[in-house]
């Protein structure tokens, strides 16, 4: 491989493309299926209830405290599969690279994908690389597609919430959003908050082992906890009553949100999940979550009500308010 930046030949399908695949992608992501270098991945059917999910990743900045676009691209899709109760098995990855992108950065990103996929126990079995001219991309975009298998008897889904059920959260909210914002070029501020970017399939497996009839699993990514809960309330035709004091929040995240005029409830997470289960199983589920490293701070944060579509919260102050979807983008306050 020559040069230290991506140029148009890396996407041309010729020698430079082959070198990039062999010396960079396969070095970090290699496995027998990928190394076969066929036009497609041949895999043995792992079961009869398969889950397929795809996710495009366009984050800025590409590297942030606690992760990068590579780990995010793996964990994002792994988590989407896990929220369906699936055991994630395989990923494919499509890269759109911008001409001029430093190869050293690409190497770091792909190495991070390799580490994340090994940690999650999934293999990247097919991939694609295209290069766009300078100015037509933002460094690198990564789309990952994942395949997983759902064990028999497991069927969490967004329509499964019923009045009386308990709402659990696996840990602190807003860490990812604050970590990323802190590194935006026009918003530089000092914080030691790390993104929570992590694969949740291990946690989900432990939870399902303890309580197989979890009704809903959802990862509150963009739009934060408020969007996830509103999606559930709408899809299930129920309401949700939250207790603000029970929602785990790091002081540093609370302080950063305060300073920027953001609501932690609307702030993104990349390694947290919401689970809804029958009330009589809540204690068992909570114990299973807290026993896992990614659920150490888990808490029961509320319950499902029969007020269709209404997500409400008893504030720590003692009043009540709605918890609405995030409208547009979160904007820092001006006054």
């Amino acid at each position: 491989m020559t040069g230290d930046r991506i140029d148009m030949t890396h996407g041309g399908g010729g020698r430079a493309t082959a070198d990039l695949v062999a010396q960079l992608f396969r070095r970090h992501l290699g496995n027998p299926v990928l190394d076969a270098c066929e036009d497609g991945a041949v895999i043995t059917s792992p079961g009869d209830r398969l889950v397929l999910s795809t996710d495009g990743h366009v984050i800025s900045p590409l590297f942030f405290p606690g992760g990068d676009i590579g780990s995010l691209a793996v964990n994002g899709t792994v988590n989407d599969l896990a929220m369906m109760g699936a055991r994630p098995l395989y990923l494919t990855a499509g890269f759109i690279l911008e001409e001029g992108f430093p190869l050293a950065d690409l190497d770091r990103i792909v190495a991070s994908m390799g580490a994340a996929s090994r940690a999650a126990g999934v293999e990247i079995v097919a991939g694609d690389t295209k290069v766009v001219e300078q100015g037509k991309g933002d460094g690198v975009f990564i789309t990952t597609t994942g395949l997983g298998v759902v064990p028999a008897g497991i069927a969490p889904g967004v329509t499964g919430a019923r009045p009386g059920m308990a709402v659990l959260l696996s840990g602190t909210i807003g860490d990812h959003g604050v970590a990323v914002l802190s590194k935006r070029e026009n918003l530089d501020f000092e914080t030691d908050i790390l993104s929570d970017c992590a694969a949740l399939n291990g946690l989900v497996a432990a939870m399902l082992a303890a309580v197989p009839d979890i009704a809903v699993l959802r990862d509150p990514t963009r739009g934060g906890l408020s969007a996830a809960l509103n999606e559930i309330a709408q899809a299930s035709g129920v309401g949700i009553a939250l207790n603000e004091a029970a929602i785990p929040l790091l002081p540093g995240v609370a302080a950063a949100c305060e300073l920027l005029g953001l609501d932690p409830l609307n702030t993104a997470n990349e390694g947290k999940l919401v689970a809804i289960c029958p009330a009589d199983k809540a204690a068992a589920l909570l114990a299973a979550m807290q026993a896992h490293p990614l659920g150490r701070d888990a808490a029961i944060i509320g319950k499902v009500t029969d007020q269709a579509g209404m997500v409400q919260m008893t504030t720590a102050f003692g009043g009540a308010r709605m918890v609405d979807w995030l409208q547009g983008e979160q904007l820092p306050r001006i006054c």
Binding site: Q307, T315, F317, G319, R321, Q327, C335
Partner: protein, 375 residues
């Protein structure tokens, strides 16, 4: 953070709620206008109304800088970006406010105008430095809180010789607005609404001090208590207002003593006076033309005044039909009394400014209070 959570303590709130309930005379009603959108937001976000006796009601005031900017001035800003080809630097809240025919900065940007969101005037100066061949206009809005940073930007641009930088100045003044509201027939006996006292601005008062409210308080006999933006500040200030009303007093009191002094921030005031003078009158959305209620850039800084540098066209600016923002901003209608509320007008598809800004009363009702009064 401990300093913040201390002002949101639920146990202290219950104690204050009990004292307010004991102080409030059940035989009378207390209509308290919170001037600032920041207070409106705190009242809804923390559910402060739930801790009040039924005869203590909040009337939401016009203190939302995005909301009070008249359509004409927004249309002018859009024209600067679209017709004069400038880079328009704006606070993010302005982006989605609908102008005439529901055009907006965000739509103009999508159509190719160079409009950039900034977090401070320093960002706007940086854009001017980075684009020496382009005119960069900072769309300055806001009350006395945001005025000193604009003054600093103009002085800094002068010191650096940044000839491509200018400011489209829309800064407005709080005491003039309070006086205007209390002079309005809306709040005279038999009018559409009622105000028994004001929760005075917190950040604004940090700059101007508590003294400037005295003239309006003496003229109209309504008390003002300068209140911090934390929910316990709001409750303590309500208690102070109720005491004044019960005792027949009308004074300027200061609950927010940890930040606000009688004379305010003299250094900031001096900066503002160096750069700005008072306009004879200015149009506010909702309040109409208010005398001596806004700032213009002084002639000796005219090189940085976008209004002096660019010829803005005459235009027929219009609000969205049936939008009740003006009445909501005057405090005579609740957001839920607007027929557009929830019927096409939501924070996602705002038809009026009060639904756009997080400090707007409509947005607060929609996002936090919808379960109380279904649309």
């Amino acid at each position: 953070m401990r300093y913040i959570t201390a002002f949101r303590d639920g146990t202290l709130a219950q104690g204050l709620a009990a004292r307010i309930a004991a102080e409030a005379d059940p035989a009378r009603a207390y209509h308290l206008m919170e001037f600032c959108g920041g207070h409106t937001h705190a009242i809804f976000r923390y559910g402060v109304q739930d801790l009040m006796p039924p005869n203590v009601r909040f009337v939401h005031g016009p203190g939302c800088p995005v909301c009070v900017l008249p359509v004409r001035r927004l249309d002018d800003a859009i024209e600067l970006a679209e017709r004069h080809g400038v880079i328009l630097a704006t606070y993010g809240d302005m982006m989605r406010v609908p102008g005439t025919a529901r055009h907006s900065l965000i739509r103009a940007k999508a159509a190719g105008a160079d409009i950039r969101m900034v977090y401070s005037t320093l960002d706007a100066l940086a854009i001017a430095r980075d684009n020496p061949g382009r005119d960069v206009v900072f769309f300055a809005i806001g009350f006395e809180t945001t005025t000193p940073p604009t003054a600093v930007a103009i002085l800094q641009a002068g010191a650096e010789g940044l000839r491509n930088f200018s400011v489209f100045c829309n800064h407005v003044l709080t005491p003039a607005a309070i006086d205007h509201i209390l002079s309005s027939p809306d709040f005279a006996p038999g009018g559409l609404g009622r105000i028994d006292g004001f929760l005075g601005p917190s950040h604004v008062s940090a700059v101007i001090g508590s003294a400037p409210y005295r003239a309006a308080v003496e003229r109209h006999g309504k008390p003002v208590v300068i209140a911090g933006f934390e929910p316990l500040d709001v409750m303590q200030s309500v208690l102070m207002l109720i005491r004044q009303i019960n005792e027949g007093r009308a004074e300027v009191e200061n609950e927010y003593t940890r930040v606000v002094t009688d004379h305010g921030n003299r250094k900031a005031q001096a900066l503002v006076n160096r750069v700005f003078n008072i306009r004879e009158s200015f149009e506010w959305r909702g309040l109409g033309t208010v005398p001596r209620s806004a700032l213009a850039i002084r002639p000796d800084h005219a090189a940085f005044d976008a209004e002096a540098r660019f010829a803005l066209s005459d235009k027929q600016s219009r609000e969205v039909k049936s939008c009740e923002c003006p009445a909501v901003l005057r405090g005579v209608k609740k957001p839920t009394e607007c027929k557009l509320f929830g019927n096409g007008c939501t924070p996602e598809t705002p038809m009026g400014a009060c639904m756009v800004s997080s400090e707007g009363a409509c947005a607060a009702y929609w996002s936090y209070g919808r379960m109380r009064e279904p649309a």
